[in-house]
Amino acid sequence: MLNRLEDYRRDLYQCGRCGYCKWVNAPVMKSIEYSKICPSYADGKFHAYACGGKLNIAWCLLEGNFDYTDKMLDAVYRCTLCGGCEMSCNVIQGNRIANNEVLHALRVKCVEDGQILPEHQAMIESLKKEDTPLVGESKAKRGDWAEGLGLKDATREKVDVLFHAGCRFSFDEDLRDIVRADATLLRGAGVNFGIAGREEACCGGRAFHMGFMNEIEKYADDMISKIKISGATKLVTPCADCYGNFKYYYPWIERNLGIQILHITEFVDQLIKKGKLKFKKKVPMRVTFHDPCHLGRLGENYETWNGEWKKVRNHLIISDPPRPLHTGADGVYEAPRTILKAIPGLDLAEMERIKVNTWCCGAGGGALEAFPDFAFRTAMERIKEAKATGAEALVTTCPWCERNFKNALEESGSKFKVYDITELITMAKEK
């Protein structure tokens, strides 16, 4: 359960300013150039932008040392909540600091105290009216992506699998072919699945990351209700963001979807392993894979903790029951790689910052909407790293990553390509 900020005083106090929250895990650090893990600190430069700095700000806020300032809100919100700091910190601090929980609790407090960015306010207004935080989109058009596919309506028919498209895939026309291809994959595999179409709503994650508790609770309950109505025993989603919200964040609000949750890459990986999907067509391309934060670091099942701290051996502080570690180890990393390695002719070259050490694309946490300049620079940093591998294209499997990378490439005038993994699957499938 996500506690109030004041309940995290022990966590705040624990920070020793080691600075690990700024860096890739040292054992896998390959160069000085790609040694940073925190886009917020890389962009903001003051220590306030690093997780450790934000913990200090939170402490001083609770102590009443200052009141809210624009700069403080900038430090708090110019952050994608990518989880890199928690991964790095937990390597050193173990389970003594629940970094991600604290950062969210800080935002919840900001919102409760009325400190809301106008861009975020607009997203919340859109969510309330249109069930999506994508400003300017209409719920009436939510199911348009599936037009002509003849998919089952899971709000009316029983299905085995509920396919959740997510807001970005539902409304972003540039990405439409991807989600349609994903649905087609399921159909081709003979899966009995359906969609909520126009009745699908946001997972509520983005609102939560901006500090709004009520909205995520509402949408989680809606999700649970839709699952019940559909009778589905599995949920498959092509959106890494939604995936992470279901698995990692819903437990924070004590919501459990109660069924198996799969990202599309996990599903395709299963098809490949069972011999039900084979690629015969070569895709001669050198590519590199970007691990979306919400699929990897923030894609593991999150165990919340509400135990106690106690002392043993005089002052060795332990948790009872043991507080879980959150290092991202159980996220999804291999399924996309298995898929890429199965595509003939494809040459996969890895970047330096991969898997739990991935560099965020810059889109999450409400940062893309409120700080497009920051989102741009963060994406360009990743694109630079991708190009350094000699790859012709960056491949990923999250529509938010793709949108932000595409925006950045367009703005910079670069011809470098970004693909969703499904696009490569489509290229490689036998016609």
């Binding site: 106090y13 020793g16 300013r17 306030a48 102590e63 200052f66 005089n314």
Partner: protein, 537 residues
């Protein structure tokens, strides 16, 4: 915020609007660090916040030496105290005067040169140990990383501090690895000496290491260092680790040309003899004490796991085998070299009545890999924060004769900490709490004791501080160059150790007066121009 608004505008003009801040939230992010209780509580400090009682002027982010100079000159003109820091791990980065300016050097973060033929590198302040090690390993080189860990600035320990690391037997300590500095003096002029001045007539010329550093580093009180040249050393291992494990539990498969030994001694005297012999033989690549408190934290991932490990060691009797235990890692470029070193080591083990303690089942193979990963990369140093609810160490003696260090200092520190355990001040991590290692393949060494307490409790912090003072007095009495409170370089220590260090403080003061006539370099951890410096923590 600066009362003089002109000054604030001038600072902004120097670095640009985005690199200067007087915002209270931004400033507050610099104000809190974990050692503030450790050293502040005995002095009456009551809060986790290192300077709640001070109105700090602002924070500035210079990007070049020229900007640093300009900033320091402004500080001189308007009598503003400044305190510069790089990674800012320790208490010493904290400003201690009203309206101080925090100079955050994080934008000066480049490796300027790695000369693998002449084995030196030139770096800026914010280059961390992990970053430079990653680059050096590609060239078969390494540098000294102090016990604070590889996430800390290398330049900081080269110019402003001291301390041993895992490789000190090979790489000494950074006071001795300083081969040049670009030093912005407290007045704002710049001095360049040594290997930062390539191409200059008379290069590399005379050095100013003694004046710049003093015995222990200038700790932020004598200008700002914007570059340094550091000595590099051979590294016979692979450029990238073969990582084992996952998540936070990672190991490095021990390469074939390395051997790890954990050697236990019946008495500290035998440990001292051993140190003489291995340094004389020059066979070890790494060597440092391997005591319960140290290793139980280094390859466990949580305190719960550590607690279980300590219980197991007690139940099996292994904890007694871990007293006076030293880890020695040998490495060879050739099989013949390694074989020779191993033979000599085995002979020395016999001569000193020692034994290999791995045979007592203390560690699994994966534990050894986790240990080796930390040994090479020094990345897990800050688990002391996890283990001890913050690092609460004490002690700190460098380049002392290993004989007295071990026979007297080692025992003495253990007794002091044991007393702390019995009085309920310190956590019980076993009978041996020393972080000790030989240096430079000579019978010189460094020692600190690692004592953890609960820094959430101000009374405990105060008592911890009293024990540290006791350790300091012990060092003075035993003529072990007292730095029992981790800072003979802390100006307040002058009162404690003045008589022990002869006229060291007098000359230090003369240097401060000569180079910082306006007294704008924060003196608290260096020395004050006035003798009885008021402690403002």
């Amino acid at each position: 915020m600066f009362k003089n608004r002109n000054v604030a505008q001038i600072f902004e003009n120097i670095v640009g609007k985005d690199n200067f801040s007087e915002d209270p939230a931004i400033i507050s992010s610099y104000s809190v660090m974990q050692l503030s209780e450790a050293f502040g509580a005995p002095l009456g400090m009551k809060s986790k916040n290192a300077f709640p009682h001070l109105q700090i002027g602002g924070v500035i982010l210079p990007r070049s030496t020229e900007e640093v100079q300009a900033i320091v000159k402004v500080c001189n003109k308007y009598k503003i105290t400044y305190k510069a820091h790089s990674t800012g791990l320790w208490l010493f980065f904290v400003p201690t005067r009203e309206e101080s300016l925090i100079i955050d050097l994080s934008q000066m973060n480049r490796i300027l040169k790695i000369d693998d033929k002449n084995m030196y590198a030139v770096i800026e302040p914010f280059v961390t140990g992990a970053q430079i090690l990653a680059e050096l390993r590609k060239k078969g080189l390494t540098c000294h990383v102090i016990g604070a860990g590889s996430q800390a600035s290398i330049l900081a320990s080269v110019t402003s501090f001291c301390g041993m690391g895992h490789t000190s037997i090979t790489t000494s300590g950074n006071p001795r690895n300083c081969l040049g500095e670009e030093w912005v003096l407290p007045t704002g002029e710049v001095v360049r000496w040594g290997l930062v001045e390539e191409g200059k007539a008379g290069y590399p010329g005379i050095g100013y290491r003694g004046i710049a550093r003093g015995a222990f580093g200038s700790a932020g009180g004598l200008g700002v260092y914007t570059k340094c040249a550091i000595k590099l050393y051979p590294y016979p291992g692979p450029s990238e680790p073969e990582i084992t494990g996952e998540g936070s539990s990672l190991g490095w498969k021990v390469p074939d040309n390395f051997r790890i030994h954990l050697i236990g001694f019946p008495t500290p005297e035998k440990l001292a003899d051993f140190n003489y012999k291995i340094t004389e033989a020059k066979i070890a690549y790494m060597a440092w004490t391997f005591v319960t408190a140290y290793y139980a934290g280094k390859w466990t991932e949580t305190n719960e796991e550590m607690y279980e490990a300590l219980k197991k060691y007690e139940e099996t009797g292994a904890i007694d085998k871990m007293k006076q235990t030293i880890a020695v890692i040998t490495a060879g470029y050739t099989e013949k070299e390694l074989k020779y070193k191993e033979k000599v080591l085995n002979d020395i083990i016999k001569e000193t009545d020692a034994e290999e303690v791995l045979k007592y089942g203390i560690m699994t193979q994966f534990d050894l890999e986790r240990f080796f990963l930390h040994a090479i990369t020094a990345y897990k140093a800050c688990t002391v924060f996890r283990e001890g609810n913050g690092y609460m160490g004490g002690g700190g003696l460098q380049y002392l004769n290993v004989d007295r260090l071990v026979k007297v200092g080692y025992k003495g520190y253990n007794e002091i900490v044991r007393k702390g355990v019995q009085e309920g001040i310190a956590s019980d991590y076993g009978p041996d709490v020393n972080w000790f290692g030989p240096e430079e393949q000579r019978p010189l060494g460094h020692i600190e004791f690692i004592m953890r307490t609960d820094r959430w409790d101000p009374e405990l912090c105060k008592k911890h501080g009293e024990l540290v003072r006791e350790a300091n007095e012990f060092c003075i009495k035993e003529k072990l160059l007292g730095t029992g409170d981790h800072g003979v370089f802390v100006a307040m220590s002058e009162r404690n150790v003045h008589q022990h260090l002869g006229n060291y403080f007098d000359y230090k003061r003369k240097i401060k007066e000569a180079l910082d006539p306006n007294d704008v370099g924060d003196p608290m951890f260096y020395i004050g121009i006035e003798k009885d410096l008021k402690i403002t923590l």
